[in-house]
Symmetry: C2
Subunit: 189 residues, 2 copies
Amino acid sequence: MELLKQRILKDGQVIGNDILKVDSFLNHQMDVQLFNEMGKEFYRLFAHKKVTKILTIESSGIGIACIAAQYFNVPVVFAKKTEARNLDADTYLAEVYSFTKGKTYNVRVSKKYINSRDVVLIIDDFLANGKAALGLADIAEQAGAEVAGIGIAIEKGFQNGGRLLRERGLEVQSLAIVEGMQDGVITFR
Amino acid sequence: MELLKQRILKDGQVIGNDILKVDSFLNHQMDVQLFNEMGKEFYRLFAHKKVTKILTIESSGIGIACIAAQYFNVPVVFAKKTEARNLDADTYLAEVYSFTKGKTYNVRVSKKYINSRDVVLIIDDFLANGKAALGLADIAEQAGAEVAGIGIAIEKGFQNGGRLLRERGLEVQSLAIVEGMQDGVITFR
């Protein structure tokens, strides 16, 4: 998606060889106009799949998922990272390793909100090692739901998450795939 | 807001005397159509304040804030609860006590994304003891920004957050104020 790539080139910051900071428009400050263009693009890519629900993970995926959901006209469910007092006891559980936080944690979705009649589109802001998306796909499969695919804003093509997910037969559509960030220069696939 | 009140009566679950579960439409599964009606209402209430930025806190506020931001045509900034490796070192910091999680934690906003020219509308899903909203107002004030007001989906009128914020001179607009939940019966102010 050209608009997103241009925005990454304009406002993205490379730190070292593996961190791409896009927090001025994607995952701290959020440019909702850009999110709308991304939502339209996800709809163009996945409209034929008859999606019934969008599944994401707190926190950075929620904004993109909600804006995209307006085009699909379906609810969003976000997997929770913490055990809040008001979360149902009866949940689907997956283990996820966070690249940015350097730790493993459990994510949970109440069994009430995904079921075997659902066609689930997974949306997230980043795809790096693929652990978050795999955890969400795992939860959808535990529920007996069909996974329509995985819609990602920015994929780090030099990490192995995209390959892992595609090898598992999942349709991954990334709006921008960063192939390299050598010496602070971002190149796209 | 009648539509939200009716939805709370239809789908809200009261647990004990103080927990109101609305996770089927507000903060786990999210009804984005309802969020759009809420966003329009926040715009009606705060349009005259010339808002330049919406400030919320991860995670449940993000969806509502992003949908509302479309009416205001401004970016959303969400305060982060954790120290991610990719968060700026230079942040505004506030301490927040979470009622649902039973603990105190720090929230941070990068100094890049709020400044003294901003007119900040704070949006969150719940107002109970008011600690999250106070923390966000504190961050806006540290930045020298003007606080346009606080837009809340559901205020628990029987807890003291709303009173604390209003006594501090902040304009609080809650789309539904729950006055009581005795014996599982929800009453509104």
